[in-house]
């Protein structure tokens, strides 16, 4: 059976990479004593498919992972057992049973929404102004990790200052398709902030 786990990733797992999350889920499920289905072939691997990767340092309210299990088990029972076996920093929102042949998670997602908070209140000064300046730009050229320049502007669907909730006071919606992936930290850099100035939380992907 294939299940989809929706979960929150919080501060204490902020520095665990997307790749490491694969292993964390595998081990959590094994601790809960469920048998994971293995892929066929010369090097069988446990069948676990992560959704949209969450960049290192981000936290999230809405992450998803698909897991194939050998046996058919009640999803609420899985949730109860799994909650006892996940590390600090994970919280399960819900578990659903899904059609084993449905499409991989990453192909389902088009848009992600983020909230950002500053560590230091001084950074909020002139925020509105710099956001509207940025949005007026025709193009925002940023450099990818592979040194290729790209235009960030069309990837920003929404960006505005919002009423602070737990100190998070910037909202943004970015394109999140496989070849058109807007990174929330890049938006913050374009606004002129350094990496040590803010914390990004993913709110939702759809």
């Amino acid at each position: 059976m294939r299940i989809r786990i929706s979960y929150q990733k919080m501060l204490s797992l902020r520095f665990t990479s997307a790749l490491d999350m694969q292993r964390i889920w595998e081990r959590s499920i094994r601790r809960a004593s469920y048998k994971i289905t293995y892929s066929q072939g010369y090097h069988p691997q446990p069948k676990i498919q992560l959704g949209l990767p969450l960049p290192l340092g981000f936290i999230s309210e809405d992450e998803k992972v698909d897991v194939w299990l050998e046996n058919d088990i009640d999803k609420e029972l899985i949730k109860t057992n799994l909650e006892l076996n996940i590390p600090e920093g994970l919280e399960i929102n819900q578990i659903e049973k899904i059609d084993p042949s449905s499409k991989p998670l990453v192909t389902l997602i088009k848009i992600s929404e983020y909230a950002v908070r500053f560590w230091d209140d001084n950074n909020k000064v002139n925020l509105n102004h710099s956001i509207s300046d940025l949005l007026q730009e025709k193009e925002i050229i940023r450099i990818k990790r592979n040194n290729k320049p790209y235009d960030l502007r069309p990837l920003i669907l929404d960006l505005h200052q919002m009423e602070a909730k737990d100190d998070f006071n910037i909202f943004m919606a970015l394109k999140s398709e496989q070849n058109q992936m807007g990174r929330a930290d890049e938006v913050m850099f374009a606004l002129g902030y350094e990496l040590d100035a803010f914390l990004i939380k993913r709110l939702l992907s759809y």
């Binding site: 520095f15 964390i24 081990r27 094994r30 994971i36 446990p46 076996n85 590390p87 914390l199």
Partner: protein, 612 residues
């Protein structure tokens, strides 16, 4: 928050960690981590490993102490590792002290800091961690509120090079003595720091350096200044193995369950320090091993298991163990690996029981290139046997073979070096014939470091010109094979030899080197030959006399006051037999009276199977 300085630590974690490499190294939070209430616990121990988290996390010594201390109601243990270069810069720039993974408490607030130092190239990192904790480096300059600094691990079997920085050394197996240390310090809570340290010195197996004794190399055979004898502490019986039940949140080396199935080794290879200092052999029984595997898998969810020991195939129940592990692996969806197999005991039966497993690397350590030299070092494996084993393992489907060799043995000739080339060539031919292009051979060439407490402690280190000439013969000879060969930097070999064979004076060399920037000496990113050479010069140390001059076999050595249980006279006999190319049988073939039985009051054949 318990201490005011913690606010800076929390800010650093929130804001700055994201700017450095692998920030997950510094925040703990692993599944099964033990985090006790600081204020409700009276005694606080920081377990320190002087290398990065990735390397130190799997360390079983730390895991054992962590479990023992945290199972006490009156004490807690938290972990700390050496920060990598980027984290060190960040800590220094922000003036934040080194802190523990669990409660994020500055190390200087702990009562006791226990360093685990398995090898000598970690010494400068110990100094660096003390400095980052704002603890005075020299024991004599520490104040009443500074923590007590202890150290243990294989390197401390010659404690003197670090004598200036460590208040008390643990000689032997830390699990056997840690409770005595904590009891001693708790019951003397009101005494002065110095009185506490002196009290530690009364515990068997603890060495507290003082200024009345010294361990300088001397020609006086009755060196009267040598400290009183300290006999190592050890577990007579290993009931249940050390389990590291913590599950890392980031990638680490050896990210698998490690079960130590046997401690000590019965072989007596003459270059091997572990084989001498870890006597007697103590096996964990089949039932205990299987229970430990089950418990570890259930509690960690980790699916890779490694059965550890110095010579795994020598375990008296190895067939039964592998049989049971094979059965378990289907039920539990686990994979297992067996490092350190001996050709003599790795037979077809064992190979078959590993048949279904994923085939990774297979390591063979002939050590020397000729049969004569292998006899001299007491690892007498016939040429033909090595080739037959290689053929068998290739037929069973292992693609990657690693070969370990050493050069620089006493009496070594060019023929021995040619022998290494011949062996590699033959093995490569066999592998290629069976596995074609899939076969890969890696060769590692180390140089003998004449370690303390081994029969070769009287041998000299091979000189740079000699080693480089031998490297050249090997490079020329191995070139046509197009295989990967490792040739370690001679400067690093020389440093390791100096630190492991050092006396009291070497503390100054370590200090000067650290002051001039030495750290992470075991890392390419860290080691600087220039810094060390300058420090050696500045402190007027003659490498000639420490490493290259022939030693009289009756001369006192700086570690002679450390009693490993093996008699010095046995080591002497072994050294002389090595010259004659004579072998000594393994302990369970025939006891050669190394002294362990009398000195440690133990019956080896009973200790082996835990019948004590």
């Amino acid at each position: 928050m318990i201490f005011k300085t913690q606010q800076e630590i929390f800010d650093l974690i929130d804001r700055d960690l994201i700017t450095i490499q692998k920030p997950g190294r510094y925040i703990g939070g692993e599944f099964n981590q033990v985090k006790k209430d600081w204020s409700l616990t009276s005694f606080h121990v920081a377990l320190a490993f002087p290398d990065i988290y990735d390397i130190g996390f799997p360390n079983l010594g730390i895991a054992a102490l962590y479990n023992i201390i945290n199972s006490r109601s009156d004490a807690l243990a938290e972990r700390v590792f050496a920060p990598w270069f980027d984290m060190e810069s960040l800590l220094r720039k922000k003036k934040v002290p080194l802190f523990s993974l669990e409660s994020k408490i500055p190390i200087s607030h702990f009562d006791l800091i226990g360093f685990s130092i398995p090898y000598e190239t970690l010494y400068t990192n110990v100094l660096n961690m003390l400095d980052l904790s704002k603890i005075p480096l020299h024991s004599e300059t520490r104040q009443s509120d500074d923590p007590i600094i202890i150290a243990g691990g294989h390197s401390t079997f010659n404690p003197e090079p670090m004598h200036a920085f460590i208040d008390a050394f643990v000689i032997g197996e830390g699990e056997s003595v840690i409770n005595d240390i904590i009891d001693c310090l708790i019951s003397r809570k009101e005494l002065s720091r110095n009185e506490k340290v002196q009290a530690l010195g009364e515990i068997p197996g603890i060495y507290v350096p003082d200024s009345e004794h010294s361990t300088l190399y001397t020609d006086d055979p009755k060196n009267s200044l040598l400290p009183p004898m300290v006999t190592k502490r050890f577990h007579k019986k290993i009931d249940s193995p050390i389990k590291n039940l913590l599950v890392p949140n980031i990638s680490v080396v050896h990210d698998r369950i490690a079960i130590e199935i046997m401690r000590g080794c019965s072989r007596g290879c003459r270059f091997c320090q572990a084989g001498m200092i870890m006597r007697p052999v103590r096996e964990l029984s089949h039932d205990n091993i299987i229970n430990a595997i089950k418990e570890s898998v259930e509690k960690t969810g980790i699916s890779e298991i490694s059965l550890l020991s110095l010579s795994t195939s020598d375990h008296s129940q190895i067939s039964e163990i592998l049989h049971s592990v094979n059965q378990l692996s289907d039920d539990y969806q686990i994979d297992f690996s067996l490092p350190s197999l001996r050709i003599e005991t790795f037979d077809e039966n064992l190979m078959n029981s590993m048949q279904s497993k994923r085939k990774g690397n297979f390591t063979i350590a002939p050590e020397a290139g000729s049969e004569a030299r292998r006899s001299a070092i007491n690892k007498p494996i016939p040429f033909q046997d090595i080739l037959e084993t290689v053929e068998q393992i290739c037929l069973k489907g292992w693609n990657n073979i690693k070969l370990y060799f050493m050069i620089g043995f006493p009496g070594e000739t060019d023929a021995d070096i040619e022998g290494i080339i011949d062996l590699c060539r033959e093995i490569n031919t066999i592998g290629k014939k069976i596995l074609k292009g899939r076969f890969k051979l890696h060769v590692s060439i180390n140089t003998l470091i004449p370690k303390a407490h081994t029969p070769y402690q009287w041998a000299t280190l091979a000189r740079k010109e000699t080693v480089e000439a031998k490297y050249q013969i090997l490079k020329d000879g191995l070139k046509p094979l197009k295989i990967k060969v490792n040739y370690p930097d001679y400067n690093l070999i020389q440093l390791e030899a100096l630190l492991s064979r050092g006396d009291r004076k070497i503390s100054d060399v370590i200090f000067t080197a650290w002051k001039n920037g030495a750290k992470f000496d075991a890392w390419r990113e860290g080691f600087s030959a220039d810094i060390w050479q300058n420090s050696i010069r500045e402190n007027k140390i003659s490498l000639e006399s420490y490493l290259y001059e022939k030693r009289d076999i009756n001369q006192q050595l700086p570690w002679d006051f450390v009693n490993t249980g093996v008699d010095k006279s046995f080591l002497k006999k072994e050294f002389l037999k090595s010259r004659e190319g004579k072998t000594t049988p393994g302990c369970f073939q025939k006891c050669s009276a190394c002294g362990i039985m009398q000195n440690l009051q133990i019956d080896c054949s009973k200790a082996r199977i835990g019948d004590i």
